[in-house]
Amino acid sequence: MVFFLEQLLNGLNYGLLLFLIAAGLSLVFGVMHLINLAHGSLFMVGAFVTVAVAGSTGSFWLGAAAGIVSTFLIGLVIERLIVSSLYARSHLDQVLATFGLILFFNEFLRWLSGGTPLFAPTPDGFGGAIEIVDGFFYSRYRLAVTIAALTVAAGLWFMLARTKAGMLVRASASDPAMVRHIGFDVRLVGAMVFAVGAALAGLAGVMSGPLVSVEVGMGEQVLIIAFVIVVVGGMGSIKGTFWASLAIGLVDTLGRAYTPVLMGGLFEPRTVASIAPSLSAVLIYVLMAAVLIARPQGLFAR
Amino acid sequence: MTETPLVVRELTKSFGGLNVTRSVGLDLRPGEIHALIGPNGAGKSTLINLIAGELRPDSGSIRLDGRDVTGLHSEQRVRAGLARSFQVSSVLKDFTVLENAVLAVVGRRQPALNWWRSTLSDTQFIEEAMAALEKVGLVRRADAKVSTLSYGERRHLELAMALALKPQVLLLDEPMAGVGTEEGRELTDLVSNLRNDCALLLVEHDMDVVFALADRVSVLVEGQLIATGAPGDVREMESVQKAYFGTEDVW
């Protein structure tokens, strides 16, 4: 039971982090109809910058701030220099150009870091475990991350649904011509959406530092899952992205945790040991295939 | 007794809360040119899309030559004998005129498409394609890339392709849009001659064209069909004059 609760919370945690990444992807696609492969790279940059700055200054918070600000700025620069020329181009061209960005970021960071994985220490005060209910201990840091991510998600929802800026974003997504008529520069909206999306991915990277090993290529793993999320949830739908993120986070975590257990009842240990990891890794893609069969436009498509 | 080429009954479509098409009914007589007119935003394009099959109606039926096609996809309706042209010319720009025409001819052979034989070795395709091009006067441009064609020539090609499908019913969505006066006259003659091949439903804003071509006219206002009849009669109807009063459409 404790195990289950722990995995449940882990799944939620993972799902929320995935949401932060997938949200940017979904927004940029919804507003500017652009597919951005380099989004995962911003996640990676966020993690790397945090580790580097925290490492040299000794302060996680400084590292975190640097991580968020740097990814926001890099997002802005990328958007102005490269992405803005891609809005009018085919999806293939967008894929190719942003793939070029991935190659650059990966190799650049590999050069800077020497290729070895880095580790971020848990920030002071957030180490250890906290007792949630009687006898059930959970990582304090993970709990903090969950709460933070939930707060950011709520903030994002609030901003989109309740503020003028959010309305502008949503309007640009459904009727850019109208927005132009009112006098707003859709491109400015696009640039902001891109940069904010980048910062969100960067934030996810910042928070993930102490949880995973920070290495080149970490961005692509989450990027591909983010793609699956966006397709499952329905392209351009933030609500869909949110629920799909949680669903996939839970399926993946619980799947990995329980597949060996479930298999253990049917197969001998050696088989379980060799097949279980692959099987659980594949679960989210099976989910993707199932959604494709049942509802190809995504679960929450408009 | 020949079947009525097109019978539309109680066609209804809403988007969210917006009733775009309200229980529209009309029919096409063999060999007639039937014009669909109405103020902007009346839902003419939506109606065309519904008949063509790009949109699914909420209720109502569409019968093509006696056959119920309401449940068919657009490409299936094409094969059943319903062709359309597009408001914004959408001939394939990177292909030659002849290739466009051949594509239209070959389309009728679906689904049994050949994968191995070179398209040109099938002289029947080429002949049919050239015949369609001849009807619209584009034979001498057969080898030209569509991107080099004038806008008017592209509209001619659009018609040729629709013709090559040998339809019973042809939907023309503003065929004269953007065409100059000289080419417009040619196009009008062309469309008029199409009567011999099929029944036409024509969406048009230009009233001169409507009067020159149409045997009957239907008026669509806010998704509802308010009048059908000979052009001269429809013009006199009070309901129609009221609908047009104050818009930029001039009688």
Binding site: E107, M235 | R79, R108, Q110, S118, D143
Partner: protein, 329 residues
């Protein structure tokens, strides 16, 4: 209006039949000729590099074929490339080394995989299709790289190449010529398919799917066939790659491979069937040149790709064709 006496002459159009249908692509013929001459003038290492260019070029042409015929941008062709390679490994593990037996079976396996992935992926379109193919490729990657009997994460070596009707392919020259012949055949078949009514229809669908539907075409079936064919060619390249390297590992299935194949198509040119081949050549040359300066040569590859996408719209092939006096459509 044209007068009725105008002749309906057979137009001199791109539909013209004629001599070996590869005749229209001079740059490609030149390149193939150079490949043929290579073993006579170059040392073994360089010949091997050119063999590698041909193998990846074949896979890239496959990717390009699907894009041009049906508008299918697949970011998951590594799955098919790798599947071909792993079939060779599986056959070898089972004791089979006869190309005439193993290779057709490998292609069949790839075709089945592509059929399943294609059927599911084609339920979407556009951007979703790109993402889904990537997702499925990852699925294949995880399943296979988790399998102990197939070498797991480290992969497994093949000792010696497959035998072709009793003839050994272990020699560099022999294998080089085999790949050249295979490549030539693949290009010939592709040209044939492209000029057929189905090929023309697929090119139309890639151009404007809505318009094609209005002409009565049902895109999905045609697209599925195009996708499966493209996958089988990529699988064939994988079979050849396994034999070339005499080693099979998860790297074959990595999504970076899918990306690089797309880059090759982009660099070489989408509009021609042989574009992928030129792209492969460019990429290998690029690596050869820049890796002299630094092990981190890929830092330059990224911007090169970006610049090429932004400014070099049609890739290298059309320019080469013009240089050789051919048509560059």
């Amino acid at each position: 209006m044209t007068s009725p006496s105008d002749e309906r002459t057979m137009p001199a159009s791109t539909l013209r039949p004629g001599l070996p249908s590869l005749g229209g692509d001079r740059a490609m013929l030149l390149l193939l000729a150079l490949f043929a001459l290579a073993p006579l003038v170059l040392e073994a290492y360089l010949v091997g590099e050119l063999t590698r260019v041909m193998i990846y070029g074949m896979a890239a042409c496959a990717v390009g074929f699907a894009i041009r015929h049906g508008g299918l941008v697949s970011f998951g062709h590594a799955a098919f490339f790798g599947m071909g390679a792993y079939c060779v490994l599986m056959a070898r593990n089972a004791g089979y080394q006869d190309a005439l037996l193993v290779w057709p079976l490998a292609l069949l396996a790839v075709a089945l995989l592509a059929l399943v992935i294609g059927l599911l992926s084609l339920r979407t379109g556009g951007v979703a299709f790109i993402m889904i193919t990537l997702g499925f490729a990852q699925m294949v990657y995880f399943v296979i790289s988790g399998s102990q009997s197939l070498g797991a994460a480290d992969g497994l070596p093949l000792f010696g190449r497959d035998m072709l009707a009793g003839i050994s392919l272990d020699a560099t020259e022999a294998f080089h010529y085999l790949v050249l012949v295979a490549l030539g055949l693949v290009l010939l078949v592709m040209t044939r398919l492209s000029r057929s009514p189905a090929g023309l229809a697929l090119r139309g669908i890639a151009h404007d799917e809505r318009r094609m539907k209005a002409l009565g075409y049902a895109p999905k079936r045609l697209q599925l066939t195009s996708f499966v064919f493209s996958a089988v060619v990529a699988g064939f390249a994988g079979v050849l790659a396994a034999n070339f390297y005499q080693f099979v590992g998860p790297a074959y299935l990595h999504w970076l491979v899918s990306g690089e194949l797309l880059v090759m198509v982009a660099l070489g040119g989408i509009a021609s069937l042989s574009g992928g081949l030129f792209g492969a050549l460019i990429l290998v040359l690029f690596e050869a040149v820049f890796s002299e300066y630094t092990t981190y040569w890929r830092i330059f590859l990224g911007p090169a790709v970006i610049l090429s996408v932004l400014y070099l719209h049609k890739g290298v092939h059309p320019a080469l064709e013009r240089l050789l006096g051919g048509r560059d459509d």
